[in-house]
Symmetry: C2
Subunit: 187 residues, 2 copies
């Protein structure tokens, strides 16, 4: 979105690798400590969330900056980090379908919806839902015409060749396969 500044931060600045067999390296240019007053906070997901939510420095930072945001958001398993920071207590929230139930331990009410907005807190479902959330955020902040412009610029006219994007739509045996693969990943 023109006129905004995006800052990618991590506990320690430097290259952050995705936690899988084909690691993509993303650059965190600054430490979390460099950002104290974000307008919009986006907490991403990833298998690494299991460690991150036990990292008190990250969780404390999320809790602290949340006081100053216009919007506090998460995508995928990022909602577990918002939960650990106490931000989801008493709220409906979503996240990756395979990690919805763990949200209860933080006092949240897991909700099978692609994007869940509760006051200034927005949680989105599994990773690709971040696109839908981003467009909703544009609508809220800038109106429909700007959200339409960005949607058109990224040509977001989805045409998945199959219809298996949620556990309700995928064949049961596929859901079982993915559950098992995910369970292996995180244990």
């Amino acid at each position: 979105m023109p006129g905004n500044r995006v800052r990618l931060v991590a506990k320690q600045p430097g290259l952050v690798r995705t936690d899988n067999a084909s690691p993509l390296g993303l650059m965190a240019d600054e430490p979390i400590s460099a950002v104290e007053r974000p307008d919009v906070l986006v907490v991403p997901g990833g298998p690494g969330e299991l460690q991150a939510r036990q990292d008190p420095d990250v969780v404390d930072w999320v809790r602290a900056v949340h006081q100053h945001t216009r919007w506090t958001t998460s995508v995928c398993t990022g909602s577990l980090i918002l939960g650990a920071a106490g931000i989801l207590e008493g709220l409906r929230a979503t996240g990756h379908w395979a990690w919805l139930e763990p949200l209860r331990q933080f006092g949240a009410e897991p909700t099978h919806q692609r994007v869940v907005r509760q006051g200034k807190v927005i949680t989105a479902a599994g990773v690709s839902s971040g696109i839908d959330m981003a467009l909703e955020l544009l609508q809220l902040e800038y109106g429909d015409a700007m959200a339409q412009a960005i949607q058109l610029a990224i040509e977001y006219d989805p045409q998945p060749p199959l219809d298996a994007g949620s556990p309700e739509k995928a064949p049961p045996e596929v859901v079982e396969t993915v559950r098992k693969a995910i369970s292996k990943l995180t244990h």
Copy 2:
């Protein structure tokens, strides 16, 4: 996709910044010269394509490795690089909607479709279409069940809040705004 190795390459290895005001840094771990026999080549897009397609080293490399691929693919303006390498001559091809006509100079027939497959060459439309192409590629290589599993794992059940993802669907004044913004970006 488990069992595969993803290698991110650039002319020179190192951090590659996206060409906009909020630069995201992606790591190219190896130079293009390190990869001579990719099974699947994916050429991404970006405003940088204008330079890249005039970089004979990149274009020559694409042309050379194409001889050995099972699939040669592009997303967004990446099709201009395939075009410059002579790979699209006589083929139907797609790309970002605002850069379809330039494909003609390479002997390609611009095609308003989200994913266009011609033999082993697959081109996809604007950036978000890469997800749809990836799922089609999984179908072709591994069958529907595996494509469904990956679709479910990334919870790709798109629900855009607005319906403006193509120039046919967006309001005319939005299309005009985006055309102008893009034209500024690249001139």
